[in-house]
Symmetry: C2
Subunit: 700 residues, 2 copies
Amino acid sequence: MTLDPRQALRAVLAPRSIAIVGASDNAHKIGGRPIAYLSRFGYAGKLYPINPARGEVQGLHCFPDFAALPEVPEAVIVAVPGDAAVAAVDECTAAGVPVAVVMSSGFGEVDAQGRQREREMAARARERGMRIVGPNSQGLANFGNGAVLSFSTMFTEVAPQDGPIGIISQSGAMSVIPYGLLRQRGIGVRHSHATGNDCDVTVCELAAIVAEDPALKLLLLYLEGIPDPWHLAEAAAVARERGLPIVALKSGRSQAGQQAAQSHTGALANEDRVVDAFLAKHGIWRVQDMRELVDAAELYVKGWKPRGRRLVAISNSGAVCVLTADAASAAGLPLEPLADGTQAELRAILPGFATTTNPVDITAALLTNSRLFSDILPPIARDPAADAFVVGIAVAGAGYDVPAFAADTARFAEATGKPVVVAAPQTSVGAAFKQHGLAVYPTEAEAVRALGQFVSHSELIAKAQAQVPALPQRPRAVAAATLLDEARSLALLAARGVPVAAHRLCRDADEARAAWAALGSARAVVKGCTAEVSHKSELGLVRLGLDSADAVAAAYHEVVANARRAGVTLSGVLVAEMAAGRRELMIGARLDPVFGPVVLAGDGGKWVELMPDAQVLLPPFDAAQTESALRRLRIAPLLDGARDEPALDVAAFCRVAVAVGELMRDEAAGIVQLDINPVIVRERGQGCVAVDAVVFRQTN
Amino acid sequence: MTLDPRQALRAVLAPRSIAIVGASDNAHKIGGRPIAYLSRFGYAGKLYPINPARGEVQGLHCFPDFAALPEVPEAVIVAVPGDAAVAAVDECTAAGVPVAVVMSSGFGEVDAQGRQREREMAARARERGMRIVGPNSQGLANFGNGAVLSFSTMFTEVAPQDGPIGIISQSGAMSVIPYGLLRQRGIGVRHSHATGNDCDVTVCELAAIVAEDPALKLLLLYLEGIPDPWHLAEAAAVARERGLPIVALKSGRSQAGQQAAQSHTGALANEDRVVDAFLAKHGIWRVQDMRELVDAAELYVKGWKPRGRRLVAISNSGAVCVLTADAASAAGLPLEPLADGTQAELRAILPGFATTTNPVDITAALLTNSRLFSDILPPIARDPAADAFVVGIAVAGAGYDVPAFAADTARFAEATGKPVVVAAPQTSVGAAFKQHGLAVYPTEAEAVRALGQFVSHSELIAKAQAQVPALPQRPRAVAAATLLDEARSLALLAARGVPVAAHRLCRDADEARAAWAALGSARAVVKGCTAEVSHKSELGLVRLGLDSADAVAAAYHEVVANARRAGVTLSGVLVAEMAAGRRELMIGARLDPVFGPVVLAGDGGKWVELMPDAQVLLPPFDAAQTESALRRLRIAPLLDGARDEPALDVAAFCRVAVAVGELMRDEAAGIVQLDINPVIVRERGQGCVAVDAVVFRQTN
């Protein structure tokens, strides 16, 4: 019998029986902790400790070896070192165990030999349908059913509580640090999984299974590398299907971080902006650090469906109102004025100098009249212009009816059904609001930032749901690539519908003269056509602004002479129209070894490397997606025309970008890298034209 | 006797006697709280409650009125409402009281009438040398001597403890929220002052006095507006003199925030980038929100003198190392490899697969051998390449010798004398390190961010100390300004040493022809010269690229005709050389109503508004400061030459910027606004030239 590999992996989240190879009586040893945890956290299945040296382990009957077990267990924890671990895994493989969690270290994390050993072990297992989590895994913990196959110290230090959050990470630390931070806030965590060296099961594949858990309301991932984006895309699809948001902390943003990741998990460096684009496309929110990973968690689990970004702020401090407005601007949450009717109601309640537009400043009058707070909430709750709320209690305590504020805010949140966050710097005040199940942050900045993330993420998910991103393919491996000459490059693009500058490939000066005549253009360009170098200008192989047949013929001779001097073989000389337009943009593309085709669209010209202004697009994408990417460029204000310049033909440029995206997806075309710089864009309705192209194609 | 106004204000921080007008027996009323606090927090001076209705207040003898007091008190708290408050202040003024703290509300925070009333009250007081804090002030609190003239609820809720930190704010909330957040961390706060409506004493002037307190190690400011930058500059000078860092939270960064600030304190909108430049120039660190205001406080009070930015990271988790590297990159703290000798020592201690370069990853081996931690610290302490350290304890507890880790880290910090921050997500682990006086943060991101702020701020202060910024003048008020025509604008600049394009003002076509001949330039420009409009191109008043006397003459007639058509009076027609160069930069300047002269230098051309790339410079500044500002531009990579383009004559451009700065400082010149766009910059050694200038001068 070979198992379905996905089904086999599912067993690890809810195994009916678990064997522990290397079972220990000491609950603080790797082979002892899982047994202690499984017993303590209510695991209801069968438990089979294996240790030839003991008859009993932690009060359980202990088996001398695998063969002695009464049944083939559904999951096996391997907690013996080195060669013994490999032998145990092979034994599991042979016995038809669905999944093994290998905690033993000394494999890929140590050296290349270890990596080779774990690869071979995984290959043997895969042949028989057994899945391996690890090696070097801290283990998996499911507090929903007590299947805590983990030796993490954290579960001894911080008591678990089942809840709507799942966490998956290669690193043991990063599987439990978010757990610890969330538990400190009183939030329950169901899954806390550390996959270790990922020799078989990866974080992303495990995520695709964990995302199936209907109890989850938020899935958190820590990633140092994304070697298998297709699994992550699958997890995202499963999650979107059931409205489960995924938030990812992908480290190695910086060069220093990538070096450290390379030392730590051997993570392949991912280009960071491609990671950004990939995660966004699939509706996964990317955070920058551990603080951000956990800070908005509470909002996700409330079940709110935000309908917009308009924020209403309420505080008893004008300064909190000001800081809240700043934070809201930074988060892109506009503070629109409340409806006239609402303001009139508020004015009838609050003192004359209070602000009733938005933010609503109750002022220090709250100290003398605690009822002001509860009185203003109903009119605000009825205001149609509010999508979310932040309540900032600057200072309270003696003289204030804090319990009433908290109860009223909870009723208000219940009544509106809209997201409400509370900012309260005083621990005692915060505690009163937390008691009512409200999301409380010490400062308005943190409250608004978390709310901004939650609202923006909801929008990102909705977009991904509307566009249904394709699951990426495992990209083909490319051994070598060959530069095409410009004539072939332009022909290839033209065949895909990309408008290219009119040109003719000439073999002598007479052909060049004839080409000039045929072009009928005011000015021409003469370029040496070669597959040997991509930067032609530096070698004197380009002559611009030629305005007569004689000038074209002379340029022909110059270019040929310069090529000879530089030792460059020409496949001919191009005579091309000198295209004019309003702005030089550019489109680049390459085949990422992990993410596959990647397209870059942005401002063009000679400074694209030194002063980049481009956006990443992952094929397939359409014109609308291209345009929305262009709207994020620095040069975006120019697209629709500005000052005395007309609007650009953005639609024409988008069509070129889409064509390049399709070309990159076409495996038969075999394009590895492509740069069209500039794409000269004319004013709206007049198109655009590629005047140069550098294309590298896979060597057959 | 009239008092020195500054000396009078000093009395409020340590008054030998205090009267309370409107004294209350209820310790939760405005007139009662200060009495309760003064008694409770150890104020040693004389206390005179005043209330005609009571013989005793909170156990103290109560006086019926001001006249009944046995002496003129050094400070008076006014806690009676409305007209009574004004009367009380006037009585204080008459009696020669040095300073009154007016807690009464109903003044400028309510309406224009109230603002007028407080202004007049302040004017009367000023005449007699009395200072007023407030009105609408929550009061001042000095926990160093118990002079707590405040009614803040916070001091009831969170017990004070004298410490090395001072906080000043207009807003009552913002004077105590940082207090509360710092006290939660166990940090002592000496000063917590709320100045209210600032009708006389402002936050910034009070800061200049509080900065004199030798016990302070950090001064925190909350500002909604900066109406008196000269006071803030003075405070900064006093603080730099004694090595006291100032950190400021200036809100109203965003338009929404400025609107809210306008409603709250009537704060004049400050241009945010000018605020940035001003604070930086004076060595004041600006933070974005309340979290940042307090997050690095602990580092400031340690007395560290950072010598550089090189960070060494140590953790028992590879993932923490990766995240730390990312955070360090974001904070501009490079992780340079440890010395070879250090690495060799570490390799001898740590397991083979541990990383010893930097970050140093102890790995999970720490669980089996807690001594690894203390063993690696001495070699790292000896490494000369380290300026600061971050220790990340990912997970610890059962099985780890956490107390030893904490003690060893404390010894290590002591031995190196260099900044050390700790990241520990587990409360229990963090507590162990805190017990040893170490600065602990839950995540590496927060620890590194705080460290980055502390190190960068130290550098900023050193720069301000080296450059000794001048105290800004109160800027002159400008009623109206007049546009100069281009000829006069260019002449004005030329007289200040700014190279301008060769030009001649012509009255007829023959003069234009003669000017063309005299210029001896390949191409010329013809421009209508007028003081009526600043944007000439749109009206057809500019003709470019003229290459003959005839063309110049024809252009002359066109420009004159177009001016007539547009109804624009010309003072003549300019014939100018068409200057060429490598890059168009720009210099702008204006007289800010609060900050005075402000210069803007950056990339030029037609998109300066839509795609701005400029830096603010506050005169006086020198060429070196200008160049360092240019190095922060987006176009900075082009300054030294890139690809086939030569280096620009940055020095020549900087000379122009400095000349403009000096011109703006010259009150006699009366320049209100000035735009030179473009300044055409040639390659290095060949200078630059202003080809157009728009100057507005004060109308006499």
